[in-house]
């Protein structure tokens, strides 16, 4: 009897582990460029035009988006602007920059706000255009939008000295093809 219970428990654990592994695999899986259902676009990091910063490294960008850095060199407070959970741009950032899950990110910000390490929680906007307009209106804002949504009201940062158009630019977003 005890052997049976152990066996069932072991099977359950194995199943759970398998599910976790499968999920990780799904999250970490590289996009198949030949998949006809998605299109790949560069994700531009945008700041206000009055911001003196033109380029950031990936590590600096990560620090900013994690809230570890609170002010720009000109003293202006950094305001993070993000898309809503589930949006392709947010998923790209979670995977390529944060390297966290949604839950981990949420916990990180909750902890930071509670301890006072993070002053303001990120602003969540529903649309790419909304992000752009927010960045336009707030001198200390930083956000991300797909390259096709960029216009001359905001400035695009170089990441690791690469612009979104350049070869080797890391931040790419998968966008479903609308039929």
């Amino acid at each position: 009897m005890q052997g049976r219970i152990k066996f069932v428990g072991f099977l359950g654990l194995a199943a759970l582990l398998l599910a976790l592994v499968a999920r990780q695999a799904a999250e970490g899986a590289s996009p198949d460029p030949t998949d006809p259902e998605v299109t790949i676009q560069a994700l531009a990091i945008i700041v206000n035009r009055s911001n003196s910063v033109d380029a950031l490294s990936t590590s600096e960008l990560r620090r900013i988006f994690l809230g570890d850095r609170s002010h720009w060199p000109n003293g202006r407070r950094i305001t993070l602007v993000m898309r809503e959970p589930g949006e392709p741009e947010r998923r790209c950032m979670l995977h390529d920059l944060y390297q966290m899950s949604e839950g981990e990110l949420k916990n990180h910000f909750l902890h930071g706000l509670f301890t006072g390490d993070i002053l303001v929680s990120p602003k969540i906007l529903a649309t790419s255009i909304g992000v752009r307009k927010f960045v336009f209106n707030v001198p200390g804002a930083i956000g991300y939008v797909r390259l096709s949504d960029v216009d001359d009201t905001v400035k695009v940062l170089r990441v690791d000295e690469l612009l979104p158009d350049d070869k080797g630019y890391r931040l790419k977003v998968e966008l479903p093809v609308t039929k």
Binding site: T79, V81, V120, T127, G130, N137, V138, G140
Partner: protein
């Protein structure tokens, strides 16, 4: 009153057309001025609408959109939803863009110094407010609500108040401008109305005066004509009474048996004949004048030589001339062309002229009868000129314009009791004109007079009338 009548008569005769033209010009000038005033008023009204009224509307819009920027900014304060905040930010920026454009347009249209100064001040205040507004908006979007409110209270509200004050000043200036333009329109309209009334009044007055003057002139003319006719009747009566008196006297003497002996009878017979002929000639003249006036005279036009006419005239006046002791000197130029006319009428014409020369020839008792050739007045061909010249009393310059008027007799002649009907020259002139010619006069007081009958020379085809049957022509067909 007589002086006024004379002046009126002279003015109407000489200057009627000029006065009419002057009045017309005056009315036209005033009319043009009125039209100009109306156009000016219309233009002022248009400008008033375009600049002032539309300016007021524009100022109202600016005030509305300026208020909109504030409203949208403050609405953003009332929510924590970043999406809504961004939307309100869009609204405030849309509104501020309209205000900025409106201010730029106002500055472009500003002409007066105070308008330019106000435009510059408004631009500065607006730019200052927008700067503060942007900071407030950024604070709101960042989530720093307290900071946003503090900034708005300390900077946003006072700067917006300045903008409001400037916009109110813009409205006040437009309002002032509109009032001034309206006053101009009213003044121009009033001026136009006064000018119109003045012109109408003046025209009405001039019309009344003109009608009165014309009526008076006609009345004077009628009175003068009646007077002349009365004088004519009196003169004819006198002319008839004199020979009648002689005839009566002769008849009485004969009837009373006072005339005996052949010589005396012959003398009486001559007197009776002479007086009868005079009466007959007078009656003929009156009847001829009446027929000319009535346009019922019938003439026989034929080609005539000058000698024919002169001989006929001499024959008809020989007794009168010789009986008066005058000498008639005839001079005819050579190669005179023939004329076309009625011999009897032309003879009558010259008879009247010679008769006048005898009557007014004075003591010299000389009459010249000259025939010559000249160029016609219109320069188209030749004419024959037959002049009757005397060295008598002459005609006063003031009488010359009237001597061809029917029944007219110079006051000087009437005072000298020289008898006549006043019809001779009038008849002679009408006959000359019927023949296609004219009758002219040159005269000087105490030197004498020269009356010239101008007759157009006959054309080649008119000469053939000599061989063809003469066609009677009624005066009414002329």
């Amino acid at each position: 009153m007589q002086t006024l009548d004379r002046i009126l008569s002279a003015i109407l005769q000489q200057y009627a057309t000029l006065m009419l033209v002057l009045v017309f010009c005056g009315v036209a000038v005033v009319g043009l001025l009125v039209i100009r005033d109306l156009e000016s008023a219309n233009s002022s009204a248009e400008n008033m609408y375009r600049v002032s009224v539309q300016g007021l509307l524009q100022a109202g819009e600016l005030q509305y959109f300026a208020q909109e920027t504030r409203r949208a900014t403050l609405y953003a304060l009332t929510t924590n939803d970043s999406n809504l905040q961004v939307e309100y930010a869009d609204q405030t920026r849309d509104a501020d863009r309209k205000v900025t454009e409106g201010i730029a347009e106002y500055r472009q249209q500003a002409v007066l110094p105070e308008q330019l100064e106000l435009a510059n001040r408004l631009s500065r205040d607006w730019a200052e407010y927008l700067g503060i507004r942007d900071e407030v908006l950024a604070s709101i979007l960042e989530g720093s609500t307290k900071e946003a409110v503090s900034l708005d209270l300390s900077g946003g509200v006072p700067s917006f108040e300045r903008v409001k004050k400037d916009l109110n000043e813009v409205r006040r200036l437009y309002d002032e401008q509109a009032s001034q333009r309206l006053a101009n329109v009213v003044a121009t309209s009033r001026r136009s109305a006064l000018r119109l009334i003045g012109t109408l009044g003046f025209t009405f007055l001039v019309s009344i005066v003109a009608v009165w003057a014309i009526q008076r002139s006609r009345m004077i003319g009628a009175i003068q004509l009646a007077k002349l006719q009365m004088e004519f009747v009196a003169s004819v009566s006198h002319e008839l009474r004199t020979p009648l008196a002689v005839l009566n006297s002769a008849a009485d003497n004969i009837a009373d048996g006072l005339v005996t002996g052949k010589p005396e009878i012959q003398r009486y017979g001559t007197v009776i004949r002479t007086q009868s002929r005079q009466m007959s000639e007078l009656v003929d003249q009156i009847l001829l004048f009446a027929s000319v006036e009535d346009r019922s005279a019938r003439y026989f036009f034929e080609s005539l030589s000058v000698n024919q006419i002169l001989d006929a005239a001499q024959r008809s006046t020989q007794e009168l001339v010789e009986g008066s002791g005058f000498v008639l000197e005839q001079r005819v130029d050579a190669d005179l062309p023939p004329v076309v006319g009625d011999l009897s009428a032309l003879t009558q014409c010259l008879q009247n002229l010679i008769g006048n020369a005898v009557k007014y020839g004075g003591e010299r008792k000389w009459i010249g009868l000259h025939a010559s050739k000249g160029t016609s007045a219109n320069g188209a061909g030749f004419e024959v000129r037959i002049s009757v010249v005397d060295h008598g009393m002459g005609i006063d310059r003031s009488d010359l314009p009237h001597i061809f008027d029917p029944f007219y007799r110079s006051p000087r002649v009437v005072n000298m009791q020289i008898h006549g009907t006043g019809l001779g020259l009038s008849l002679a002139k009408r006959i000359a004109e019927t023949m296609g010619g004219a009758l002219t006069v040159v005269s000087e007081i105490s030197a004498g007079s020269s009356f010239t009958l101008h007759l157009p020379a006959a054309e080649r085809n008119e000469v053939d009338l000599r061989s063809a049957a003469a066609q009677p022509t009624s005066l009414s067909q002329q």
